[in-house]
Subunit: 321 residues, 2 copies
C-alpha cells in the first residue's frame, strides 16, 4: 500500500456489527480502500450505518453490495455465511477477493466454497479480536491492533490474493497467521470456544443459585464471577452458530475438560491438598508463558495506552449496553 | 476516626502478602493507626517488608508481633489461621480486636475461636479484593477502594468491636457487609471459588492440548483463554486452602455446574440452536444486572480512574511476574 493508491478500489461489507464496523472505520482511516459499500439485513442497522457515516454507500441487498467490488468481506454469524455466498455468487467480479471474519473456518469454507465461482479468490479469515459489545456503534478503528488475524486459504488458493489480503489485515494493525481451516478450528476450540461455553454455563449456574441468596451473587461478583460475566455477555447469535459449526472440536475439548475437572473435584472431596497445589502451581507457570508471548492486555479487546498504535481517531467509543 | 487521634494505637499484621501489605500501606496513608508492627514466616519476606518501609517495626515471631496491639489482623492462608491463633493466644492484649482476611469464614471461625481468650474480640473479615499477584511488593493502598469487605462476627460478638472494625475497613475505602460465616461461604463458593476452580481447570486442559498444537494455544490466547489465565495465576497456597476449607459449599455448586454444562453439551451434540441461543441470551441479561450494580470494573482489582478514590499515593506499582 502506498499513500497514493489504495490497496483495493472498492470494499463491500456484508454485515456491519462490531467487526464489520471496525473494519470500515480502520480501512477508511488508513486509506486502504477507495470506497466502501455496506449492507446489513435489518433496515435499522442500515440506517444507523448511514447515520454514522461508516460507508460511502449503503445498499439494501447483498447482491447489490458486491457489484464492482474487488474486496468483499462477509461479516455475519458463521451460520449465515453459506446463504450469503449463494446470494452474491452471480454478482462477484472476476478476480475479486472474497473473505469473511467467522470464528469457525471449516464450516465456512465448506458452506461458501460451493457457491463461489472459480474466477473469484476465496480466502477465509478470522480476526481474533472482539469485545462484549455488538452492533455498528460498538466498533472502533483500533480493534485489530496487535491482534492476530488467521487466514485459512484452501489448498489451491492464489498466492497473490492471500498476500494481498494479508497486507490488508497487517495495515489494520493485525498480525497475520496462515493455517488450515481444520487446524484453526481445533486451536480456537480450546483458546476461545471452550472458555466462552464455560463462562456461559457458570453465569447461568450462579443465576439459579441467586434465587436462594437473592442479590448477593451479583453484589459480591468482584471475587472472580465478574470476569466470567464479561465473556458471557457476547452476542448470543454469533456464539450459537460457533458451537453448532465447530461441534466436533468443541466436544473433543469438552471431554478433556470434564476429565480434568473430575480429577480436581475428587481431590477436593478427598482433602488432597498436594494435588490441588501442584495443579494450581502448574497453571500459574502457564500464565507466565502467556505474559511472555505478549498476549496479556487487560482490556478485553479494547485499545489501551500500553500498545503501540497507529495514530487513529476513535470517534465512536463503545459503551456498556 | 478524627485527624487528631488514630482509630487504633498499634496494628499488628501477621503475614504481609498482597492483602497484608495493602492494609499496611492504606492504614498508614489514611492515618488510621499509631504504629504498625509486622511479621512474616519467611526471613526474606521480613527483610523485604523492612526495605519497603511497610511497618514501623518488623519482628520475628507471631507472639512478639501481637504484644500491646489493640488490632491484630492475621493475613495468612486460611489453612494456617488456627496455628497462628494458637501461637498468639497468650500474648493478646485484653480488649484487643483480632481479625483475619481469609476467603473462607466457617473454618477460620472454628479453627481460631478455640484458642482466642474471651477477653479478646474476634471478628473475622474477608475483603473481597485481590489481583493475580502476591507478596509484599504486590500490594497498593487503593486495593480496597469500592470493594466489599464482609464481616462475619460470631453470634455473641461485642457490638462496639464490630463497629470499630467496620469503621477501619470503611476508612480503607471498602463497603462493609455483615453476615454469618456459613452464609458467606455459600455466596463466595459461587461468586469466587467455583470460577477460580474452573479457570484453573481450563488452563490445565489447554496445556495438555498444547503438547499437540505447540505454542499456538498461547499465541491465540486473546480469544477468551487469556481472561482465564489471569484468574488461574493467583496464589496456589491460598487457593489450595480455600478449596479444602470450603469443601462442602464448593462441592454443592460444582454439582449444579456439572448439571448445567451437561445440558449445554447435549444441546451442542444434538445441534439444538434454540437451547443454546436462549441460554446465551439469558446470561447476557444477567451481565446487565451486574453492570447496574456497579461491580463492573475492568481492572481485576487494580485501581482505575473511573472510581471515586481518596487521594492516596501509590508508590509501589505491581508488575507482571
Amino acid at each position: 500500500m502506498t499513500a497514493q493508491a489504495p490497496l483495493f478500489n472498492r470494499l463491500a461489507l456484508i454485515g456491519v456489527g462490531l467487526i464489520g464496523s471496525s473494519i470500515a472505520r480502520a480501512a477508511k482511516v488508513q486509506g486502504l480502500v477507495g470506497s466502501i459499500v455496506a449492507t446489513a439485513r435489518s433496515p435499522a442497522t442500515r440506517r444507523r450505518v448511514a447515520e454514522l457515516g461508516l460507508a460511502d454507500q449503503v445498499v439494501e441487498t447483498n447482491a447489490a453490495a458486491v457489484e464492482g467490488a474487488d474486496l468483499v468481506i462477509v461479516c455475519v454469524p458463521v451460520g449465515a455465511c453459506g446463504e450469503v455466498a449463494k446470494e452474491i455468487a452471480d454478482k462477484l467480479r472476476p478476480g475479486a477477493i472474497i473473505s469473511d471474519v467467522g470464528s469457525v473456518k471449516g464450516s465456512v469454507l465448506r458452506d461458501m466454497s460451493r457457491y463461489i465461482p472459480p474466477s473469484v479468490h476465496f480466502v477465509p479469515a478470522h480476526p481474533v479480536a472482539g469485545t462484549e459489545f455488538s452492533g455498528p456503534d460498538a466498533g472502533f478503528a483500533e480493534l485489530f491492533v496487535n491482534r492476530w488475524c488467521i487466514l485459512t486459504p484452501p489448498e489451491n488458493a492464489d498466492e497473490s490474493a492471500v498476500s494481498k489480503l494479508s497486507t490488508f489485515w497487517t495495515s489494520l494493525g493485525a498480525n497475520v497467521a496462515v493455517m488450515s481451516a481444520e487446524h484453526h478450528d481445533l486451536v480456537l476450540a480450546i483458546t476461545s470456544h471452550l472458555p466462552h461455553l464455560i463462562a456461559y454455563t457458570i453465569v447461568g449456574t450462579a443465576d439459579e443459585l441467586r434465587q436462594v441468596t437473592r442479590s448477593e451473587v451479583l453484589q459480591f461478583s468482584a471475587g472472580g464471577f465478574r470476569d466470567f460475566t464479561r465473556i458471557a455477555a457476547s452476542d448470543p447469535t454469533m456464539w450459537r452458530d460457533v458451537f453448532l459449526a465447530n461441534k466436533d472440536a468443541v466436544l473433543e475439548v469438552l471431554g478433556r475438560f470434564n476429565e480434568d475437572i473430575s480429577a480436581l473435584t475428587r481431590a477436593i472431596r478427598n482433602g488432597d491438598g498436594q494435588t490441588l497445589f501442584d495443579h494450581f502451581a502448574r497453571t500459574r507457570a502457564i500464565r507466565k508463558g502467556i505474559v511472555q508471548m505478549g498476549q496479556d492486555v487487560p482490556d478485553f479487546g479494547r485499545p489501551h495506552p500500553g500498545l503501540p498504535q497507529p495514530k487513529l481517531p476513535r470517534p465512536y467509543a463503545s459503551s456498556d449496553d
